[in-house]
Point group: C2
């Protein structure tokens, strides 16, 4: 063969090699990265739920309240990371701020079930060990995310539900509250309106009217809070907490406590916290699907997250979004609904918050 043919042959051989090696490239480089890189970036991303959040429906005061609380959550969580703390502690700190606020459908702002109760779900996972904890259908723990953490840290189990989970939380000395602590008038009114509309067999257009009257009412299927972070050791973590769907019945549980669906973390790929129409997120195993597209499909975090949220979920008409982060501090937070309360904070310590789908995230 002539020189040119030899050259082409070499290019061909290298191309084949590159193809076959491609899928583990990211995985290996992650490992390397966290072991020798001296400036491992720290970062925290949060969400406060996705839904039909539109600028024209939002008052300036309401928007300001959301942005301020998101900012507070980011700063509290970031302080843990900046102090050399673990990502798992940062996501808990960030989530607790949102659980304690009546603005979000989690903890204090949880929506009501059909029977007029507040039943909450939460989950947490750490990427270094892939250890995880989840609780569903609990009504007495002030911060449900702390119950999920105790399941992960202090039990041989991953998932506990109902009274049993509450008993475990009590034995772990978590702060318990009277179930009435979770009652907020705004959420209770939402329940009453929906039950009324069912009783009178109103059609969808009157539900639509209620939505126009009260922008919060629209989010009745989508409210959730979540956080993902990477710490100075290069470990990622994910946490999610929710009050579920307004007017839910039959002990319905969504994607939040389903490890792999609404909450997932693995240092080799990414940490994901989802918010949206939970049934679709379970069926698509959203968190683990993003991780799998990265690991086996050789895509970046942003490509993988967008493929799942903007293509797979859209095809199924599964509304919502995710926040996600990888061990290098890359961030992706796609959503296919009109808005998603969200924000992030990176090395420089400047928190950024976003609500609508036309804001420049600067990522």
């Amino acid at each position: 063969m002539g020189l040119k043919a030899n050259y082409l042959f070499a290019v061909f051989f290298l191309a084949i090699l590159a193809c076959s090696e491609r899928k583990y490239e990211k995985y290996e480089s992650n490992k390397e990265f966290s072991s020798w890189n001296k400036v491992q970036p720290i970062a925290l991303v949060i969400h406060g739920g996705a839904g039909t959040i539109k600028r024209e429906d939002m008052s300036p005061e309401r928007e300001k309240a959301y942005r301020e609380k998101l900012m507070e959550s980011l700063n509290v969580g970031y302080a843990v990371l900046a102090d050399g703390g673990k990502s798992v502690d940062a996501v808990i700190a960030a989530i607790k701020v949102m659980e304690d606020s009546p603005l979000f459908n989690a903890g204090k702002g949880a929506v009501f079930t059909h029977d007029g109760k507040n039943e909450m779900d939460a989950a947490i996972m750490e990427g270094s060990t892939r250890n995880a904890g989840a609780v569903a259908g609990i009504s007495t723990v002030k911060n449900p995310i702390t119950a999920a953490y105790e399941v992960m840290e202090n039990s041989p189990h991953v998932f506990m539900v109902g009274k049993g989970a509450e008993q475990f939380a009590e034995e772990q000395n978590l702060e318990l509250v009277d179930p009435n602590y979770f009652r907020t008038e705004r959420r209770y009114e939402q329940l009453m309106k929906i039950i009324d509309s069912e009783r009178q067999q109103l059609d969808h257009s009157s539900i639509r009217e209620m939505e126009l009257e009260d922008p919060f009412f629209k989010d009745r299927k989508f409210g959730t809070v979540g956080a993902v972070a990477v710490d100075a050791a290069g470990n990622v973590a994910a946490a999610t907490s929710t009050g579920g769907m307004t007017n839910k019945r039959y002990g319905r549980v969504g994607d939040v406590p389903v490890i792999g669906a609404g909450t997932y973390a693995d240092n080799a790929t990414c940490a994901v916290s989802a918010t949206g129409h939970g049934e679709y997120f379970i069926r698509n195993v959203v968190g683990h699907e993003i991780a799998s597209i990265m690991r086996y499909g050789n895509k970046s975090l942003d490509e993988a997250a967008n493929e799942v949220v903007m293509d797979q979920l859209v095809k199924m008409e599964g509304s919502g979004g995710v926040i996600s982060i990888d061990a290098q501090g890359n961030i992706s937070m796609p959503f296919n609904s009109a808005g998603m309360y969200r924000g992030y904070i990176r090395e420089k310590g400047q928190a950024q918050t976003f609500v609508y789908n036309d804001e420049d995230e600067g990522l």
Copy 2:
């Protein structure tokens, strides 16, 4: 460029093309297959739990009882498929036979919680729509798998737990039973033995002695029943049902009702039902991991199932196994424990059952 160089360039180009197209090859060919192939094979695979099931601990009578019941389950499920029925109906029929038998830790043979109750979990998923249904912590539905099916078919939800799930089952006119229906003396004795051993703070060696006395006792963490099938239309389905862990507390839920972990189905890849130490199966998102390795990692069903069960789970010391099937009727049923009650039946209608890890499955 000369002729040779042109030729090399063409080969190079085709190689790149082949590389980039590879990952969807299986997905596309599946779709094609089910649309034009006239001899779509039907097949059903079942398991009755994995654990430290050893030949030397097993009496001939006991082994015979298990094999006969597995055979009955296979034949009942296969009759549905042979009759042109759906894979989802075949797996339900097969599971009900095992739920109704006291031999398996599901339905009638469910183990006891620490509080002396039988709390059951079940899930089902169909591969054509990726629709799914799951229930956890139910005590009054005779066949928990039928409750999971009703959640999938007749509710907008995927996952229901506890009393709410029972209420839904009742409204769907499922057969309800007094919780005492699930009490079997063998299982109750097992609970008493474990509680005794805890009370007396016996060490692990006396648990080991109990295990030697009673082979069934060993399976206290692993009992589950499951089925996967492909029907004449090329649609796969998966179903799993369990009584959970003997002496379980705190409303612990394992991998069975966690869609993506213990139960998963997608025509584009495979249907999986798992059995084993549930916590590890949740953290590894076992069912969806097998599907992802096929879809994005371009591996066969058998390669993917073995990678997860014999490598990933073994590294984490997660004991157990899976049964899995794809739309072409390929079957894989790896397990990393000493034994797994299992069997399959294909076109010729000859059911095969297996218990130990040294039996030739003829796959």
